[in-house]
């Protein structure tokens, strides 16, 4: 059974229909990407899962809790953490550890339990040494890690990253993608990354592509990213490594279908050269 499930949701803001029969499933320990061009309804979908938006029609069920039931909102938000695009706008405190403690304090935990969760979350994202620093002194990647630590401290079963990697440089992005992978594989957390950059999707297990408020493609990362024509039709570009692998296949080289990232391609070329 899926951890979270959006079923046939329709939602409008005024006369603007943003979601139209939209469905999506999140599984524990799976890294899912929701991709789509700007204005396709991705952010509204993220807010549905965190019960920040209640659908006009259809249902959102998280770990058995229905978001339409007001009493379930606390349980849903406890289970699903949301990280936004700009980390600067999510910081509520003036030291790294105080910011991470914000969520656990709202859960009404004891001081000792708050300290335990704060330290564990900061260690998980590699910011423990900076716990007493002012968040403004952190780099963009570190601020985004701080935002992730802030939701990890709530003990979530799922984390949604809403375009959270888009403002980062390549090394910081690679670093965070590794962290996401670790959260899925080692902690069994379901991760939903919302993006319009298919390079990020190459690291995921499952991809949904949405356009005009509906899901138009879904499948494993390899299935979706190798379908250049369909992606182009929905305003997305296939990753460079994927496109290069495709060109090599056309020229008769035996490049496997699961070559999606630059690392995959380099390792294939390295292997072939040997």
């Amino acid at each position: 059974m899926s951890f979270a499930c959006i079923e046939e949701v329709c939602h409008s803001f005024g006369s603007n229909r943003v979601l139209n029969a939209f469905s999506l499933r999140l599984e524990s320990g799976r890294f899912t990407v929701l991709a789509g061009r700007n204005g396709s309804g991705k952010t509204t979908a993220a807010r549905l899962l965190n019960a920040l938006v209640i659908p006009d029609r259809g249902s959102v069920i998280v770990d058995g809790y229905d978001s339409r039931d007001k009493a379930s909102v606390f349980e849903i938000r406890k289970r699903i953490g949301l990280v936004l695009q700009n980390p600067e706008n999510q910081i509520v405190a003036d030291t790294v550890e105080d910011d991470v403690a914000f969520g656990p304090e709202n859960l009404g935990l004891s001081s000792d339990e708050i300290r335990r969760r704060v330290d564990a979350s900061l260690k998980a994202v590699g910011l423990y040494d900076k716990r007493l620093d002012n968040p403004s002194s952190l780099s963009g990647g570190q601020k985004q890690k701080l935002a992730i630590a802030g939701v990890l401290a709530l003990g979530p079963k799922c984390i949604i990253l809403d375009e959270s990697l888009s403002m980062l440089d390549r090394p910081s992005r690679a670093d965070l993608l590794k962290l996401i992978r670790r959260l899925c594989d080692e902690d069994g957390i379901a991760v939903l990354l919302i993006t319009h950059d298919m390079e990020e999707a190459a690291y995921s297990d499952y991809v949904y592509v949405m356009d005009g408020g509906s899901v138009v493609m879904k499948g494993s990362a390899a299935e979706i990213l190798t379908d250049e024509r369909s992606l182009h039709l929905h305003g997305l570009r296939t990753p460079v490594a994927c496109a290069a692998a495709s060109r090599l296949r056309e020229k008769g080289y035996p490049v496997p279908q699961d070559v999606l990232t630059e690392e995959d391609l380099l390792s294939f070329i390295g292997g072939a050269a040997c």
């Binding site: 920040l52 406890k78 706008n89 030291t95 914000f102 709202n106 009404g108 935002a147 709530l154």
Partner: protein, 252 residues
């Protein structure tokens, strides 16, 4: 100049004032402001000024850093003083009184924010006013609002500086007379407001998703505890307040 605003900025240092409980410092600020407005003679005004000097020394925050932060309010002070000198009876004394009082209040508030992290101020306000919960006053929300307001002062000041730099790079001028300056500021204020609303929206979503407003009955990462130095500070504040009241009564 907006980037020089020190109100809301925390200055990390190891000082007696830094180590005090935020409730002690908040009580101290209230007492100090009351005594500043009680002081109406040169002697009592000098006493409040002396108290301020002691606080500045104890804070270990460089005086130059504090004075730099006062530059944005210098114009308002000069303008008020000029109005008093021109229009008020006994104008020079009134100008001095108002200018010194304003400077002392601003400096006093600055010392609080420079030596106390915004989160601690928020916790202090919340604990100190917790008795108001009986009257259904949303103390926690008020404290959180104060804390976030302090946190965003330097961010918005930086942003205003960036917008002004962007406009300067496209030929805008912020020099000249008062009317010209005011006109030049309008295109800065509009994007600044738009950005502030965008930030506020993001922040409210982030706070909602981190369960803000559901429970405040549990513990805190830094539970507030009074220590010996807080008791000593309260005794000193009490003595200072009594001395100022006596000065007021005897007219010194």
């Amino acid at each position: 100049m907006l980037r020089d605003v020190t109100l809301g900025r925390y200055y990390p240092a190891r000082s007696v004032l830094h180590s005090l409980d935020p409730r002690t410092k908040l009580a101290g600020l209230i007492i100090y402001i009351v005594t500043v407005f009680l002081a109406s003679t040169p002697v009592s005004l000098a006493a409040t000024f002396l108290a301020l000097c002691v606080l500045v020394v104890l804070s270990k925050v460089p005086v130059r850093f504090m004075i730099k932060g006062l530059l944005p309010v210098a114009f308002i002070l000069a303008f008020t003083a000029a109005l008093n000198i021109i229009f008020a009876v006994d104008g020079v004394w009134k100008a001095i009184l108002i200018t010194v009082r304003t400077l002392e209040v601003v400096f006093g508030s600055n010392i609080l924010t420079l030596t106390t992290q915004p989160r601690a101020i928020s916790d202090g306000v919340e604990k100190g006013l917790s008795w108001m919960r009986v009257f259904k006053v949303p103390v926690h929300d008020m404290a959180m609002t104060v804390s976030i307001a302090f946190r965003f002062i330097p961010i918005l000041a930086d942003e205003a500086g960036t917008v002004m730099d962007a406009r300067k790079s496209r030929g805008a001028s912020f020099s000249g007379g008062l009317i010209k300056k005011s006109r030049a500021l309008i295109p800065v204020v509009v994007p600044l407001f738009a950005s502030a609303f965008r930030r506020a929206d993001d922040l409210s979503v982030a706070m909602d998703s981190r369960l803000y407003g559901y429970s405040r009955t549990g513990g805190s990462l830094h539970p507030l505890r009074y220590r010996g130095c807080d008791m000593a500070a309260y005794v000193m504040m009490l003595c200072y307040m009594v001395a100022m009241i006596i000065m007021k009564v005897v007219g010194a």
